[in-house]
Symmetry: C2
Subunit: 431 residues, 2 copies
């Protein structure tokens, strides 16, 4: 066996799959508390679903091919177009706001580098049909609560919160014509990663040399106080903006300590129309954990329904790295709860029957299949992490009893055969 | 939005995804009771992983392509080669028997026809490192218990159980040289679907015209009694065969009524070496729900470890059709448990705080985001299926109380604000 998984793809052995399931279970649990319903689409989709939204340039990053029926298809690189198709087909019959989430595996042909995979799992949450700022606060709170559910605190991560409408009002205040705003947002999006020289080149390339100070003054805003100072300078009123209302609503939910106003966050994607946000580890060592915002025109521009929407995507890779970094990867749970052991070969039929009864009662039960000695069966019970061992021998069968060993407490009791399932259930239920 | 999912691929809207999750959750629950651990691999794999096992002919059924790095890759059509790679890489460090399961989505470019999809989810269970018949009984019992867990009974489905070793002993008894056994098994595999004329042509094509009666006599065996009669005719002793032991072990587990000896079951795949079985609906209207068997030489032949193995695959499509046919598709669960309603706009901050506390306590809570009148909020609560509505008004805030309406019981009580989370948790816990 010389084959390996493809570069950028992961094999999930049981200990890795348990960690993945730990993350995905938290995603699902928190999404349901927020009233979200899960959906899914195919991992293989028509290529045009993505080029219609992102243009032909995206094809260079895709696992695309022509199938045996001559269709140009691709592994899905994101969930939004599939979501737009599905929700648009049903929107008339759905109660608003529509709250849908999904946990798809997504695929991009990324250049190989450390920590960059070609597949990942992503929590996608979208709230459709509600234009007000409480909808934005709702999905941001959901993203925060997923991280809290996994054990992260305000010392571990933060939400960087911005709003394109506020940014545009400030740029207008600084005298920048709206026609130049997309170019300005493009530079802001890269600003953190540029040294001063590269920064100047980026402004020159965008035709914004006269606005370097105005754009930089805006992009360094990191708090509500700084924002108010800057707004006052440009005579812009930010007191009743959606940004203020989203911020306040998160405060009412008790999540104030997780949120920072940060006008360097614009999100690279052209379709955001208002609130934009990203979650980062506090130390700023990692890529974003999560990103999202309001996209009120996207569904219609894709040929779907005309409904305001807000949503986000959160991947499993950076989140998983942060959890490991903080010691929050849980220990693997023991698989087996009860080992049923036979003293002699003649006791084996009785062990089969009892093991099956235990399983029918919902317990994880095993037994030795190969007639090994009792001592070895009990060592197997330990190795499997079993709390209980039920031993059945010829004498027990004659008297209608079995011996139940508690391998944690190092105790042994004789229990009537008819009562052993209840006994094991009760013991394990209180462990 | 004119795009649709590709032919043979499914969109899972929330009601469909809930049904899929109902099946997958039962798979995982029962597998864990049997001590199985979950793993997963990539949905995209090197093509040679499958041609090494199945030959070049399989390529015609695959979603294969050349990726941007020049690798010939394919969507996975089955899980066994991925399993073989993963388990072989770790086999030395794993306790035997190894019990692993997975629930991958698999892909085949099938000819389009009714009820034939190009993707499905499949429960894969494999037990490695144990050659005895109890291992075979273990995975068959697991497959039966999955169906029982979903509400199916012995009136709904049955296991058709056979063993290639018994079939081969009978064919030798009938005078057929072992060199012709693979051809005979190939005809038996198709026999049920052939009319008499096509049957004769199949025997002629396999060079087995002189053995039609012997092969057919074998293939019509449908019970242990019929098998013993035939074995006696050929002076073959089947009393201590693995087939008998598997059958008896399933009886000891209380599963006798689900199992029928059926020598027409041979499984088309060349690599089975002993026990083979399939699960079918009792009415015989549908394709197999599940198929599997013992494959003691496959892992090594793929270049992996030399360990005896037994396993099966169970898809979600036929199983789902059977559940629907038997009225066992569960009603969709209500998404929201508590609706928090504000009497005036000034009460909204308090509703945000309370809704978040309810969510932190694990309850599914919603609130109206758009300042609609109280009556409409309560109708929304009904529409969302919420059991409880918590109403907060100016008077309540002044007195530190809230009103809790039980929408099922049509009752209302005033509860102290500090006690409302506990009150809701207790009420919903007993509903």
């Amino acid at each position: 066996m010389t084959f390996q998984a493809l570069p950028g793809f992961r094999d999930f052995a049981p200990e890795d799959l348990a960690f993945r399931n730990h993350i995905l279970a938290a995603w699902r649990r928190v999404a349901r508390r927020y009233g979200f319903e899960e959906y899914d689409g195919p991992p293989l989709e028509p290529l045009e679903l993505y080029t219609a939204k992102s243009g032909e340039e995206i094809v260079g990053q895709l696992f695309d091919f022509t199938d045996k029926g001559g269709r140009h298809v691709t592994l899905r690189p994101e969930m939004t177009p599939t979501f737009a198709r599905m929700v648009s087909a049903r929107a008339n019959g759905l109660r608003k706001p529509i709250r849908w989430f999904s946990v798809p595996q997504l695929f991009r042909y990324e250049k190989q580098q450390r920590g960059r995979l070609r597949e990942h799992f992503q929590l996608n949450c979208d709230l459709v049909g509600e234009a007000g700022p409480l909808a934005d606060a709702e999905v941001i709170a959901l993203a925060i609560d997923v991280c809290r559910e996994l054990g992260l605190t305000a010392a571990d991560f933060r939400v960087r919160l911005s709003d394109r409408r506020v940014i545009q009002a400030l740029l207008v205040g600084a005298g920048l014509d709206p026609a130049h705003h997309p170019a300005a947002l493009g530079v802001v999006d890269k600003l953190e990663r540029l040294d001063p020289e590269a920064r100047d080149r980026a402004f020159a390339g965008a035709g914004l040399m006269d606005y370097i100070d105005a754009v930089v003054d805006m992009a360094v805003v990191r708090s509500w106080d700084q924002l108010e100072d800057l707004a006052e300078r440009y005579r812009v009123d930010v007191s009743a903006t959606e940004l203020r209302q989203v911020h306040d609503a998160l405060g009412e939910m008790g999540l104030y300590e997780f949120v920072e106003v940060d006008l360097s966050i614009v999100r690279g994607l052209a379709y955001y129309t208002g609130t934009v946000f990203e979650l980062f580890d506090r130390q700023g060592k990692m890529r974003a954990i999560c990103g999202g915002g309001r996209y009120d025109t996207l569904l219609q521009s894709l040929g779907g329904v005309d409904l305001p929407s807000v949503g986000f995507g959160m991947g499993d890779v950076v989140l998983g790295e942060l959890l490991k970094d903080r010691g929050l990867r849980p220990a693997a749970a023991a698989g087996t709860e009860v080992m049923v052991a036979a003293v002699t070969a003649e006791d084996l039929p009785a062990t089969l029957g009892l093991a099956h009864e235990l399983r029918d009662a919902g317990l994880a039960a095993e037994y030795a299949m190969n007639g090994v000695a009792l001592g070895k069966q009990l060592r197997q019970a330990d190795a499997r992490g079993a709390r209980l061992a039920v031993v059945i021998g010829p004498d027990d069968r004659a008297t209608g009893m079995v011996q139940v060993k508690d391998l944690h407490e190092k105790t042994q009791v004789a229990v009537a055969r008819d009562a052993v399932v209840a006994h094991c259930t009760a013991t394990l239920g209180t462990s």
